[in-house]
Symmetry: C2
Subunit: 193 residues, 2 copies
Amino acid sequence: MATEVFAEEGYSGARVDDIAERTRTTKRMIYYYFGGKEQLYLAVLENAYRGIREAERAIDVDHTDPVAAIRQLAELTFDHHVTHDAFIRLVAIENIHRGEFIRRIDSLRTLAQPAKTLLDEILERGRAAGVFRTDVDAIDVHLVISAYCVFQIANQYTFGYLFDVEFTQPDRRAHLRSLIGDVVVGWLTSAVR
Amino acid sequence: MATEVFAEEGYSGARVDDIAERTRTTKRMIYYYFGGKEQLYLAVLENAYRGIREAERAIDVDHTDPVAAIRQLAELTFDHHVTHDAFIRLVAIENIHRGEFIRRIDSLRTLAQPAKTLLDEILERGRAAGVFRTDVDAIDVHLVISAYCVFQIANQYTFGYLFDVEFTQPDRRAHLRSLIGDVVVGWLTSAVR
DNA sequence: GCCACAATGTACCAGTTAGTACATTGTGGC
DNA sequence: GCCACAATGTACTAACTGGTACATTGTGGC
């Protein structure tokens, strides 16, 4: 699929002929239906984000206990990233291009809301129960969780090589998974200095 | 410089002619001294890592208080990443290539040690003082800090666009900077569940 | 001054690649 | 069966790009 080729090779590295061959169509068809390489990439990017947000909406955390809920959210987000590495590669590529393509896809902005709403709700419950610190908002938490989950996939090669960590080994992965839960719970339940 | 061109355009996106022009030499010279595009990229990568590790060694945290020390380390690492975004872009590119180039530069592995040693020492002091949790090692902490600091630069365009966050705005940056300190301190000083 | 060789300039090539012109084939409506 | 037009196949090109052949110039040693 075109997604894989772009995720694998980057925008300039991806070859339209290559994509045509792998999708068992012809380059002629790609130009007929998409218009050009750039539009194809835009379609791939939009499609990837749409798919990921769809999957994200399935993340349902229905604990009454906000501490358990936030831990579960962190760990499910972790799992989610592990199973969508092509998407993460695509996002990395898009950031190399300073987001010049994604900025042209207006429809994606609204897709980010569900994640934020769920977090808002958990945080609010935790604050009301007096177990969460009060100087943290949903974006902060989402940033911390995303950063960790994305990094652990996106930068596994350089970090793994330099610090001799095998990110894909099951034991290691289980450790990494519980780690982000510990980090977020420990942080949110600590006192405001 | 060649570093900038690779950081800006990626490996396949970078043009040898372009690099030649910007360095005010000729393509001929690049082939004469480096041998080819790939060797030039390897030299750029090695050079970038060497520079960053050099700068990292200057991060000196000499508090007796391990809590203050770890916060300072997190915040200095944050500053460090803010000022070295070309390096971060290069690392992102290298990870897109699954680290195939960096793996050929043996000399880089040993450079990662100082960061780990410093962390080991702070953690040890904190555990001895009974203020840090005991189920965390230096790599864990380094991973959490790196993930956050790298992400906040590397993914600023997509995350910023989707969640409407302006990462470069001074107020925002100050908030992000203290945030990683809060996260790490809150986490490390929390109880092991 | 001259030699050996390092450093550099010039012009080029062979392979690749996004994109297209043009011809041909399918197909749904009547 | 035939028309209009959508869908597809074929063959091409113009521009680019990494890499090189060959000629020329600088330079340190004697």
